[in-house]
């Protein structure tokens, strides 16, 4: 396993800037998740590390060596894509063995069998090892392609939305498994996702990308509890953080244009009246959609609240965030 370093990396496709001056250290053994909407540059960054794309400016280092000019095969990285690509004429076992059978590696047969068996067990596909790859469901094929990466011991695992095509139950299982594998192996992971639950639960570090720029890098807790901007705050948290005019509840700090409140930053029962517009029962929690001085906001309340649409609830901010006109947080 190894440290990965990006130094002032930029990349454009025609007039479209995909990455702008990104510097980032992925410590050895870290699980780094890149978050951002479509087009933020997550996948491009991953491809810079893999060697599938090369930076226009800046440099990528893996384990202290510059990757300049090196093709993917010489970087010792293992990749998993959202769209699985398996060898259709091979069985599951043969697909998973394939990377180990590379003439460069010379892995002994017993070692290959052990490794494939172990990984198949973790991914719950042991009973499918002798099936043709094409005889699998989509979810199973994706597990095989994850398995094919995991049998190797690369410098870094690069994963691009590997769980997004799986159903909810399996996704939840594999989240824990991937995290355990990473922790047990001490492996370095660079992982791209849209799914904030994956980011929060698996990452040791989250990198927030906005239009090709890295705007915040820290633990999930740091990003959630100390976001640098409205944009970063909006990446994590369900329901979404409420962003309202700064002085809506009373005097605001100087320079503040917006007040930001996650549900736990809205105190109920004290303060000023708001009108319940809709009560959404999600099972473990209930969401309240409130109207307050011509603004909408959303908060959560006990699952079995007696509140109904049309009721009045008093609310006030509790240790809220403040942001300036550009969306930067005022500390």
């Amino acid at each position: 396993m190894a440290e990965v370093l990006l130094q002032t990396v930029s990349k454009s496709f025609g007039r479209q800037t995909a990455l702008e001056d990104v510097s980032l250290t992925i410590p050895d053994g870290a699980f780094v998740v890149l978050l951002g909407p479509t087009g933020a540059g997550k996948t491009t960054l991953l491809r810079m590390v893999s060697g599938l794309d090369t930076p226009d400016a800046g440099e990528v280092f893996i384990a202290g060596s510059s990757m300049r000019g090196l093709p993917p095969a010489q970087r010792n990285v293992a990749m998993v894509f959202q769209q699985y690509s398996l060898y259709p004429h091979l069985t599951v076992r043969e697909n998973m063995e394939f990377p180990l059978k590379s003439p460069l590696l010379r892995t002994p047969k017993a070692e290959i069998d052990r490794k494939v068996g172990e990984v198949a067990e973790i991914l719950q596909i042991s009973h499918k090892l002798d099936n043709k790859a094409t005889a699998l469901s989509g979810g199973e094929m994706q597990r095989v392609s994850i398995g094919r990466a995991l049998v190797r011991s690369p410098n870094v695992y690069l994963m691009d939305e590997p769980l997004s095509s799986l159903d909810a139950k399996l996704r939840a299982d594999l989240r824990i498994e991937l995290k355990n594998i990473q922790a047990n192996l001490g492996a370095t992971f660079l992982y791209v996702t849209h799914d904030q639950i994956e980011a929060m639960t698996m990452a040791t570090h989250v990198g927030v990308l906005d239009h090709g720029r890295l705007v915040q890098f820290g633990t999930p807790r740091q990003i959630y509890e100390q976001p640098v901007s409205i944009y970063a705050a909006g990446r994590l948290g369900q329901p979404h953080i409420n962003i309202l005019p700064a002085d809506l509840f009373g005097p605001a700090p100087s320079g503040a244009t917006f007040i930001g409140m996650r549900p736990e930053q809205i105190q109920q029962g004290e303060g000023q009246d708001s009108l319940v517009k809709r009560v959404e029962h999600l099972g473990d929690q209930t969401r309240l959609h409130l109207a307050f001085k011509n603004h909408d906001l959303t908060t959560v309340i006990d699952a079995h609240t007696p509140l109904r649409a049309g009721d009045i609830v008093k609310i006030q901010p509790l240790r809220p965030f403040y942001f300036d006109a550009a969306g930067t947080r005022i500390v």
């Binding site: 909407p37 479509t38 159903d167 909810a168 139950k169 939840a172 989240r175 824990i176 995290k179 355990n180 849209h194 799914d195 639950i197 929060m200 639960t201 698996m202 999930p220 807790r221 959630y224 994590l236 948290g237 369900q238 979404h240 996650r262 549900p263 736990e264 809709r278 959404e280 029962h281 999600l282 099972g283 473990d284 209930t286 969401r287 959560v300 699952a303 079995h304």
Partner: protein, 364 residues
């Protein structure tokens, strides 16, 4: 406006039974969810309500009239599909106007109606744009507009948000629900996403293998599942299910799990043999005084809360705890279950009736 009654509805495709014998009622103005995994029969049920499939047996009543053998065109419904089909050569206005023009509505009325619908959907500025350059969300809004413009008795929607990414889906779900709250048209909505169903639905039917497993309000289904299937399909993480050998009698208020006594709601009737105890993650608390113990396997941070996975004598248990609670992987801890919230299931997966769930499962 419409009330829809489904009675003993059945559909066979050759030897395969897609829908066994469904019965439920959709009240006028309800936002009604058909929920289940792929292949459960939810889309087939919707298509029978629409008239796109004719049932093998059973009846469909729309506003009291039996329509099960009538074609779709005679049912006054509007269908919104997962893949929003728009006419690519027409602009937004023409796409939305089309159903009215083809009914022969006068032009000035069409214009007024389209304007009104566009305002509701917030797409007034797009009316004269070609549909080709629209974003996914705007295309979806136009497709909705075309359904809404006809003022049908009810809307039928088959995973209309299925193709959108998570963030945007959430936004569109709220928009759809707000639209419904303004128009109050009966809506039947098919989804495999339990959160979407909980979030948007007034009522939910949960289907599995062509069978209606449960029918009711979202919170009631969540709290008091009728079967182990519903218990695990609804909720994320799912309800914890702990299989054990035991016996409960009429009036019992506790069961024994791996040698420890666990309090349960008072039972009505009894059962014995292979039983299953069900408890939701938010009703599992760490308490060193509790007899039932487990070892912490993982802790997943989720902002306000964390999900802690524990290995226990009867299987894995997930607990939803405040993220301020410090939990160490590898520690052995006691687990206390909130007694009022517990469900018991028989070996066949059906919930046993207790004083807590009898009102929801109303057959005890």
């Amino acid at each position: 406006m419409a009330q829809i009654v489904i009675k003993n509805l059945r559909k066979e495709f050759g030897a395969f039974t897609a829908v066994q014998s469904s019965s439920f009622t959709i009240e006028d103005g309800e936002f009604f969810m058909l929920l289940g995994p792929s292949g459960c029969g939810k889309t087939t049920t919707l298509r029978m309500i629409a008239g796109l499939e004719l049932p093998t047996a059973g009846e469909v009543y729309i506003n009291g009239t039996e329509v099960s053998q009538k074609p779709a065109s005679k049912r006054d419904i509007a269908f919104v599909f997962q893949m929003f089909a728009l006419y690519p050569h027409m602009n937004v206005r023409k796409n939305i106007s089309y159903p009215l023009v083809s009914q022969g509505m006068p032009r000035d009325q069409v214009r007024a109606k389209v304007q009104e619908v566009a305002e509701i959907l917030g797409i007034t500025a797009l009316l004269d744009k070609p549909v080709g350059g629209l974003s996914g969300g705007d295309r979806q809004r136009v497709a909705l507009g075309r359904a809404v413009v006809r003022d049908p008795a009810c809307f039928l929607m088959d995973e209309p948000l299925g193709a959108l990414d998570a963030e945007f889906r959430e936004h569109m779900a709220q928009e759809l629900r707000a639209l419904h709250d303004r128009m109050h048209a009966t809506t039947v909505y098919v989804t495999h996403d339990q959160l979407e169903a909980m979030q948007m639905g007034d009522k939910i039917v949960v289907m599995n293998h062509g069978v209606v497993e449960q029918f009711g309000r979202p919170q009631e289904i969540y709290d008091w599942p009728a079967t182990t299937f519903v218990a695990t399909f609804i909720g994320s993480p799912a309800m914890n299910l702990l299989p054990f050998e035991g016996m409960v009698g009429n009036g019992a208020t506790s069961v024994t799990l791996a040698g420890s006594e666990v309090q349960i709601p008072k039972m009505i009737g009894g059962d014995e043999g292979g039983l299953v105890l069900g408890v939701r993650p938010e009703h599992v608390h760490l308490d060193d005084a509790a007899g039932y113990r487990g070892r912490v396997m993982a802790a997943e941070y989720l902002g306000t809360t964390q999900i802690v996975t524990l290995d226990t004598p009867l299987g894995q248990v997930k607990a939803r705890l405040s993220s301020s609670k410090l939990v160490t992987v590898g520690d052995s801890v006691g687990l206390r279950f909130d007694a009022r919230s517990i469900s018991l299931f028989a070996a066949n997966g059906h919930a046993l009736i207790s004083t807590a769930n009898q009102r929801v499962l109303h057959h005890g």
